[in-house]
């Protein structure tokens, strides 16, 4: 315990200084949220590359939470869904139901190339299509996988902070 305390004292603040706020247009729904966006992550058939980057975006270095975004455990608590991966046949209906469970105003962020256009999995037999084929998408984050900075910038577009 003493060792952990010394480590905390030595490391101090790990988070990098906040970059300039992104200048992309905010979706209309984001305006109503007032600097607080709770996010439910849905893995619709991802290879877990994007998950690692989302984890990094909320880790100590990038600290997505400082902009008012927070990952939650239930779609009912959420304002936005982060969807990763090409939507597989088995995840099509669960994704649709998860979207229906989010109270309005609700938004969807498609993270990664697979979520945007199926990436390398395009026209594979188990894939229904990109996220936009199942639920309306408000914001896209390109990359395979996208850098944590890009994910944080997308979150800041939603929170406006």
């Amino acid at each position: 315990m003493l060792g952990l305390w010394r480590r905390i004292r030595r490391l101090g603040r790990i988070a990098e200084p906040a970059p300039e706020p992104p200048s992309t247009d905010r979706p209309d729904a984001a305006e109503q949220l007032g600097g607080s966006v709770q996010i439910r992550h849905v893995d619709a058939g991802s290879c877990n590359g994007c998950e690692i980057e989302i984890g990094a975006a909320f880790g100590p270095v990038h600290d997505g939470e400082r902009y008012g975004a927070r990952l939650v455990a239930s779609p009912r608590h959420a304002d936005a869904l982060i969807v990763t991966g090409a939507v597989t046949r088995n995840m099509t209906e669960p994704l649709r139901r998860t979207y229906e469970a989010v109270p309005r105003p609700r938004m969807v962020v498609a993270v990664g190339d697979c979520a945007r256009n199926c990436g390398v999995f395009a026209s594979a037999y188990g894939v229904t299509g990109p996220v936009s084929a199942v639920v309306p998408v408000d914001l896209e984050v390109p990359g395979c996988p996208p850098r944590p900075e890009a994910i944080v910038a997308a979150l800041r577009t939603l929170t406006g902070r």
Binding site: M1, L4, W5, I8, L11, G12, R13, I14, A15, A18, Q32, L33, G34, G35, S36, Q38, P60, D63, E65, R66, Y67, G68, R70, L71, V72, A73, S74, R76, H77, D79, A101, P103, R104, P105
Partner: protein, 318 residues
């Protein structure tokens, strides 16, 4: 109207307002302390209020198959906690309802709030709702006796189970704070608060894994304004428990006579005490991991033993 009744009414109203307005800030402070110790920047202590404001504006959702119990539970929980916030000695030692500011009434009221949410968790009919409710009830059953016995150890000295009387007796006899009975009871009560407010090592408030949840699992189905009430109620419970701990053991600063200055000092002292306790709790959490669910009864049995020793000490060593 006598002086004490006026003080009770004004102070009761004041402390209810302070707790409703300040409880989300307490949650924000605790998250901020954690964030700083983890090397993060944190969202700021006003973030829980931003969350609440947004959730109150969102669409209410009633899941299919739920009954009136599900809809009434958040309101009931907040209302019950508000009663405790108004009557227990937080800002002022006088109570608007002196007969109700009793150890047994306050502990039972807080337990009723937990039971309301547990019933709502069962009412959703989901696997995780029922699981969370059963876990919460198990913990509640183990924690309630400890809370009663620990505060009872303090009431032995005061000769009354009235919380205001306990606070008054500590004010009259400051050395009693360092008596073995008081110290043992304080240790037991800290564990009670950790378990009842769903903090580490009993429950992890930041978990996303349904199988490890206790409190969160019961409220997974709430959305919008109902969720805001649940979160406000949980925050108020934390503030009430920490306020009870602070004022039962370190009551100095509490308003004992009517007057603007006395009440002002009372509010400031209460806010500072709860803030310091909350920050200390959050800082201690950084060093802890959640214990396995089946080890929680051992932890709570230990706290019950401390409470029992406190009662014994208050009779034998008094």
């Amino acid at each position: 109207m006598t002086d004490s009744t006026t003080l009770g009414l004004v102070g009761g109203l004041l402390q209810a307002v302070v707790i409703v307005a300040g409880a989300p800030l307490l949650v924000g402070l605790m998250r901020q302390v954690r964030a700083r110790m983890e090397g993060r920047v944190g969202a700021g202590i006003r973030q829980p209020w931003r969350d609440l404001r947004k959730q109150f504006r969102k669409e209410p959702i009633t899941p299919r198959g739920t009954s009136e119990v599900f809809r009434a539970a958040p309101v009931a929980m907040v209302a019950i906690t508000l009663v405790v916030a108004a009557i227990a000695p937080f800002v002022t030692a006088a109570s608007p309802l002196p007969g109700v500011a009793d150890l047994f009434v306050v502990v039972a009221l807080l337990a009723t709030g937990t039971v309301a949410i547990a019933l709502a968790g069962i009412d959703t009919g989901t696997a995780f709702g029922g699981m969370g409710a059963s876990r919460e009830t198990t913990i509640l059953a183990l924690v309630e006796p400890t809370a009663l016995v620990a505060i009872f150890a303090l009431s032995v000295r005061a000769g009354s189970t009235n919380l205001s009387a306990i606070v008054d007796s500590t004010l009259a006899e400051p050395s009693a704070v360092l008596s073995p009975a008081a110290l043992l009871a304080a240790a037991a009560l800290v564990l009670v608060i950790v378990a009842e407010t769903g903090r580490l090592p009993v429950d992890n408030p930041a978990t996303h894994l349904e199988l490890t949840m206790v409190h969160e699992a019961m409220v997974l189905e709430y959305a919008g304004p109902d969720l805001a009430l649940i979160e406000l109620g949980s925050a108020m419970r934390s503030a009430v428990y920490l306020g009870l701990l602070a004022n039962l053991f370190v009551p100095w600063g509490i308003a004992t006579e009517a007057g603007v200055l006395a009440l002002l000092v009372g509010v400031v002292a209460f806010v500072v005490k709860v803030g310091v306790l909350g920050a200390a709790l959050a800082a201690a959490e950084v060093f802890l991991a959640k214990v396995r669910l089946f080890r929680v009864p051992e932890l709570l049995a230990g706290s019950f033993l401390l409470a029992l020793l406190a009662v014994t000490a208050s009779y034998v060593l008094a």
